[in-house]
Homo-oligomer: 441 residues x 3
């Protein structure tokens, strides 16, 4: 690790800087000369900061639930998101911001780059505790690249709508990670299972991640929608979907336990499925009660997934899904795509009026009917699944190369493999007058 991690970090950073020097330029909103020439209107950065918080605090702390893997969870999240956002600026730039041989970047490219890292962090959730940081950086390199291609096909070629990324981020990220986990299957993971649980305070740290993801999801889904009614509607639909999802999750968590006790794993994760489930459709005229039905349904299937499906995936399909991303991002992502199909199918000029041009521009300019738009929405889901399955398989086999230093089956979920861990854990701030006494304890 002493050679490989520094080498990969510095090498990739150097390559990134060189590519930035060659290709990346300020766009008209960040360039001193262009701005004052064009006099562009002011841009608000609050959505960016909310999304940024979800990526670094939300995902980072959500994964700190493991008793001995908190350092790695929050810090590897930090590492791969930091690399991913730089790399995706390049990849997304080639597809979306390439003008005269240069990539023009501004606040919106930062939001899009953060979005892309979200998909990588979802995949990280499936692999949590079982991969080295070098493997994660290599995965980020490839997954960001595939994300960019997949997103370009879905949004620009297929012409589907997916503002909150039910397909491009959640479905793609989850199934990509699950396939990688399948390829990296560890038959003797039971050697590390004693560390695959939480302790009391690690569950509270994880709740910081949960609540931040939950609170700022409205900003996430609305970050790149058109300003005005689109953005407001997306915020509101997401808000109601999540609120309903939370009640459904509490209900199911209690119902599925013999004694009616709640399970922190469900609350930490399934309560968020409502945000995923309206990722495609929150921008559309879903109606608040429609959003609440979607959210409730997502909370129910996600909790059921944690209870019944995750063990089956592990034992039958040999997919070890540490954070249960299949329940939080996989199934709700597909559900979100399907809800998008249905809501697009029912779009009429009577409902959308002039707003049709923002939500469904291809229906507004009569290139497509609502039915054909719905069909393309469904096609986009298949594209996302295809990229995830094929891409995840290839990248999984790359990560198997011994050069990337995967931990052994007995060393999983353990910070001490990668970190200088402080020693006297069981004795936080024991109140003692004699300092020497502590070292004996």
């Amino acid at each position: 690790m002493r050679v490989k991690l520094p080498l990969f970090c510095l090498l990739l950073e150097a390559i990134t800087i060189i590519l930035f020097a060659i290709f990346v330029r300020y766009d008209h909103e960040t360039d001193a000369k262009a701005w004052h020439h064009e006099n562009v209107s002011d841009y608000e950065n609050d959505c960016f900061q909310d999304v940024h918080t979800m990526i670094f605090i939300g995902f980072g702390f959500l994964m700190t639930f493991l008793k001995r893997y908190g350092f790695s969870s929050v810090a590897f999240n930090f590492l791969i998101a930091s690399f991913g956002l730089q790399w995706s600026t390049l990849i997304q730039g080639f597809f979306h911001g390439f003008h005269n041989g240069k990539i023009h970047v501004g606040i919106e490219s930062m939001i899009n780059a953060d979005f892309c890292t979200g998909a990588v962090l979802i995949s990280f959730g499936a692999l949590l505790g079982k991969t080295s940081p070098v493997q994660l950086i290599v995965m980020t390199l490839f997954e960001v690249t595939l994300f960019g291609i997949n997103e370009y096909i879905i949004l620009n070629i297929v012409g589907a709508k997916d503002a909150g990324g039910s397909m491009t981020i959640h479905t793609f990220g989850a199934y990509f990670g699950l396939v990688v986990s399948r390829v990296l299957y560890r038959p003797h993971l039971e050697k590390s299972r004693n560390r695959e649980g939480s302790v009391y305070h690690s569950d509270l740290f994880a709740m910081i991640g949960t609540i931040y993801l939950w609170m700022f999801w409205p900003s996430f889904n609305s970050a790149i929608t058109a300003h005005g009614d689109d953005q407001h509607r997306t915020v509101m639909n997401t808000y109601y979907s999540l609120a309903a999802c939370t009640l459904a999750t509490f209900a199911m968590s209690s119902l599925l336990n013999r004694e009616g006790k709640l399970d922190m794993v469900h609350i930490q994760n399934a309560a968020l499925a409502g945000g995923v489930a309206v990722g495609t459709s929150a921008e559309m005229m879903l109606t608040p009660f429609g959003a609440m039905i979607a959210g409730s349904f997502a909370g129910i299937i996600s909790t059921l997934g944690y209870k019944f499906l995750t063990p089956i995936l592990d034992s039958k399909l040999k997919i070890q899904d540490t954070c249960g991303v299949h329940n939080l991002h996989g199934m709700p992502g597909i559900l979100g795509a399907l809800i998008g199909v249905i809501v697009a199918f029912t779009a009429t000029a009577d409902i959308y009026g002039e707003g049709m041009s923002d939500v469904f521009p291809l229906i507004a300019d009569t290139t497509r009917t609502a039915k054909s738009q719905a069909m393309y929405q469904g096609l986009a889901l298949l594209v996302a699944l295809g990229f995830a399955l094929v891409g995840g398989t290839i990248v999984g086999f790359i990560l198997k190369l011994s050069i990337f230093g995967a931990p052994s089956d007995a060393e999983c979920f353990d910070d001490s493999l990668y970190w200088e861990v402080p020693e006297e854990e069981g004795h936080i701030a024991v109140h003692t007058e004699d300092p020497d006494q502590q070292t004996q304890a």
Copy 2:
């Protein structure tokens, strides 16, 4: 619990969804058709996100100070706020957004719904550790309803100003919760007292809640004021009031201790009283030094309350107030209302100029004099107290019904009653090479 909690959650969610389907429609800011027809100006969502953070992170983590009740604190907060915001959309909608038989909702209704849940969470603070989640959901159902009626009377009938909710949120929420706590008095709570304290790290989790509430209180008090000078002034007055309150709290906490040591309970709570104390008046021309005097005074009485009044309430009045909401929300709420009376009394055209129409519209259009406005401000406080006392009594007796499954006196402040709690608590990440050794510890 296995039957009741799922039943109540799912039933109430189903009823809410049906009522939403019947009554709730997008308003002109969230509807695709209406927006593009009316071309409404852009709305900023940053205040909403700040208030949202206070409700879910602020209140949620503030209550994690108990050593064994952290899961319940943050998660029941999450549950009842999620239900409360849906239900208050309906209740507040009937009173404030009812047009042609439909409730029109937008970003502002979301802020108002969050505000309403704030009152419920204050009441939750008085009851923390002593009620089942079913009791809390039932309380939310009724308290949200009463909040809506009380708020409508205070703002629309009495015509009082209360942008930051000193009366509608803090006074109402605190005394409602205290009366419920009185009705639910537990004579044998000493059986659970050994769990009614904090541990080192639970106090740090609580500080997350404290600091978030403290930081975003300026956004809270200003969230629904008029844009422009009103909003800026409210932000600034709240900022200075809280800063002064913090110094007063540290001073009093040290002064009241025999050895001059500080008490985390005071810092976590009393330092916030400055935000409550200017809830009514921060919008007015309070002046920065006026805000600082208000904040200092609030910090002093709140700390004194924790030291002297809370034990008396418990022993003499049989009010068990777990979080001391009487000190943080009750007394400072009344103080805030009285400061509002005084500042309204001194309002003159010379001070407010054309701004009078935003702050005191009824003085600006000569319906009222400053003196009569001050009188109505005082009347509003009485209304809030009346609703809290009568409503709290009735709801308290409802919650006493055995069907709602209150915990026994020996089971209070204990997560393990409602949660699957991880086992090996004292041994977080003990560094050991032999995994079997850990199970022996």
Copy 3:
């Protein structure tokens, strides 16, 4: 402590209130009369809230890494920032907002006051665990005053640009604190060294601080730049600098360890140096790849500093720097100033166009050439260093007075000196049916 802390808090608060009453008035953005007369354009408060979060959550939790000093870290941070922002309103107001004998305050004065407290909190980092709260309050009183004078000289007399405060905040705050630490050198600090480390969960609390500082640094550096391209460019440059810095920090942390293991101290601190290093230049046409080079370099020198320089400062120069502020703020601050010199030196009309008037107004109006602006940027660094060294020495000797109650060498890094600390630390939520059993443990 029982007399001194209350006395200083209440006395200083009283003096502050009196000075506010005499001097401070609402400005045209917060005054009801002036606003409606002048009809000023709307001001966004999101940058303020982001900076506020950095000061209270970011700095506060970053310092909770110590195993037994978490209460003091977050709460003394809270105390001195609360006092500092009030006092700096007065000091900065005298220099920047004094009109007809009155200080006019608005949202921007709040941002500037928060900025000033940042410098004090950096100095606090060098002293962490070794000073009483009374010493800290006295230091705040003097340091805020010196900050105001230093800032006025740098920005208004020297005419340097320093939007993100590489010089005014980071260089000044760090070297001020280091010199104070030198004057207060403790020869027998080894008596407390057993408490100068972290435990597992205290490191996770510190990561909350780190991530918040990292995420919101773009808002910090851009908070007082001109709206439009300036603000966007500053946000973007800071974002890329920090991302690159993070990779460099992980690389160096692993490289410098015998076994290639990462060190939490580096990740918590050095990953932030990228924000400091572009504090002066992020507003300028630094280019994204330039920002990434700056950030990488900052991460490398900061990590090297933690590994090699901090022990030398301690053993040879008798500077005990608890949080390593020399590595996070000192060296990167100087680096940031030097980058500012270079980027100013290369400013041409061809690059900046009409935007020159915002970034370098004195070049735009031909008062200065780019070369002379660069020279003045360098001069500003010398001013900041001079104020820090001389001011820190004087204030250090003042703090040595026994009246301010410094802890003894054996009592450092210990909350129990100032706090009522909960007792049973090692036994958080041990699951036991018998409550009496717990007290025996």
